[in-house]
């Protein structure tokens, strides 16, 4: 079996005609980390809910660890571990009690159950807190315990839905190294959703970019970045200008592509940023457009996102938060 997770044409519409997924297909190779990247509300969590048997799609099919999610949900459940966006821990119970109950519902008993719980407590550095009630844990500790609970029954496939959202920077870095360590585990496949570009870039072997319920791009982070030609040039203008006006002015600059103006920000791509910047500045000056600052950067996933979703990532994220 090459792909531990395979989904084809997933569609999910919620009441009130909210189309959360609009034909999502993806495939995650066994033993790898697959990243599902997108802004808030893109449909990542809905995809995870379907793949983990929590909800049923309106159309499409999915296989996890070789089992059909729709026909054999019980088999899928035995094979997967799931760390949802909402923690799902029992706050009144201790860390150890949470692990033991989780193991029990998977049929683990006695010595095997106890030693597995102890092993995970040590592995995630929770020894001091293990017998304290979870209510008193820090956010980072709760998230670690979440992952430990998801791993209790040694799943083949682990789902991590926004594992670092809401964590402070230190805990986030901690969680990253934890995930990188898990990725090294023999045969464990991880599907991780995130809306942090750098997180997907550094942890995922392959990733799919999701926007408005659709996969807009898929590949390794390098492939996705490689599809973009050259460097990104971002010019901050002193005043708002007309899109067409600037475009016309820059038409004459060689090796410059994908020019876009949004408010006072001008974005473009160039085969070589260093070579094109002087020409860009000259062309703008000739047009009487005053420039506040210029930055040149190697392509990032942010640019990839802009390329495929047609808007900047941060903008899409903000849009989702608006009521």
């Amino acid at each position: 079996m090459d792909n531990a997770i395979e989904a084809r044409g997933l569609v999910k519409t919620y009441r009130g005609d909210v189309r959360a997924l609009d034909g999502v297909s993806l495939a995650a190779e066994t033993g790898s980390v697959f990243g599902l990247l997108g802004p808030n509300g893109a449909g990542k969590s809905t995809a995870v809910k379907i793949l983990t048997t929590l909800s049923r799609p309106d159309a499409g099919e999915a296989f996890v660890a070789g089992h059909d999610v729709l026909r054999h949900p019980a088999r899928v459940r035995l094979a997967i571990g799931c760390v949802a966006q909402k923690s799902g821990l029992d706050l009144q119970a201790t860390g150890r009690e949470n692990l033991l109950l989780q193991g029990r519902v998977y049929g683990m008993r006695g010595g095997v159950l106890r030693s597995r719980a102890q092993e995970l407590i040590e592995r995630f550095g929770l020894s001091d807190a293990a017998d304290r009630v979870v209510k008193g844990y820090s956010g980072g500790m709760q998230r670690k315990l979440d992952v430990a609970v998801g791993l209790m029954h040694r799943p083949q496939v682990l789902f991590l839905d926004e594992p670092t959202t809401g964590l402070d920077p230190e805990a986030r870095v901690d969680m990253w190294s934890e995930i990188a360590r898990l990725a090294g585990d023999e045969g464990l496949t991880i599907l991780m959703t995130t809306h942090y570009l750098e997180e997907a870039d550094s942890l995922a072997r392959r990733l799919a970019i999701v926007d408005r319920g659709k996969v807009v791009a898929e590949g390794t982070p390098d492939e996705l970045k490689g599809e973009l030609r050259g460097d990104a040039i971002v010019v901050e203008l002193e005043e708002q200008v007309l899109d067409g006006e600037v475009r016309r002015a820059l038409d004459t600059v060689p090796e410059l592509y994908d020019v876009a103006v949004e408010a006072r920000t001008l974005r473009a791509r160039a085969d070589s940023g260093a070579r094109s910047v002087p020409a860009v500045l000259a062309a703008l000056e000739a047009e009487g457009v005053r420039v506040a600052s210029v930055t040149v950067s190697r392509p990032s996933l942010d640019d990839v996102y802009l390329q495929y979703a047609g808007r900047a990532f941060s903008e899409a994220d903000q849009e989702a938060k608006r009521p």
Partner: protein, 258 residues
Amino acid sequence: MTHVLTDTLFMTQRHFRNLLRQPAWILISLVQPVVWLLLYGALFRKIVEIPGFGAGSYIDFLTPGIVVMTCLFSAGWSGMDLIEDIDRGVIDRFLVSPASRSSLIAGRLVQGAIVGIIQSVIIVVLGLIVGAEYPGGVAGIAALTICAVLLGTGVGALSNAIGVLSRRVETMVAVSNFVLLPLTFLSSVFMARALMPGWMQSVATYNPVEWAVNAGREGLASSPDWGVVLSRMGWLALFTLVCTWLATRAFRVYQKSI
């Protein structure tokens, strides 16, 4: 099937343990029946002197009422805990595991039943201390407890159904406040049925709270009519079954909404 039972046992343990970790709750649930028993017992003491009341001592009359009322009220709020579990993602965590779906509700009901039995015994003992007499003896006390717990299980299931459908604490509070006290007053918990207005007597006929109080009091009488006790118990069992079925339907609605 065994897996449903073991999972229910694990979930019951979880709910029971969490309850024991809330000392304030334990204190309140112990103090409340004491207050009711002593307060109402003193307030309505002379009520038995009304011709036609049909009981010698008000505390004898009141104690089974308080047992039923206590079980009713604890059960009425049991949906709150489910709402919290849904909000926290605990339910979803178990839904993506092989845990039996029934155990997610059944564990709560079993825990409620155990708490109900403990509360009933405590109130019966308290009643003894303040002078109540139970001519029906142990069999009568058992009948009262069974009826109170059956009622509690049914109402607890309904409360969980409302919780899982509304998923809002505010709705839960409103519904419980609106329903629990009127149900109590539309039964003979405090007042002999013969002295209630005619329309109230008619309503009480269909009130499960009345079935439980009626059966409990009959069981504790010096020569109980077991026909009355068993028929009421049968009705209560049916009520509990219907409510439990409604709760599982409500839970499916929730599962579909995810």
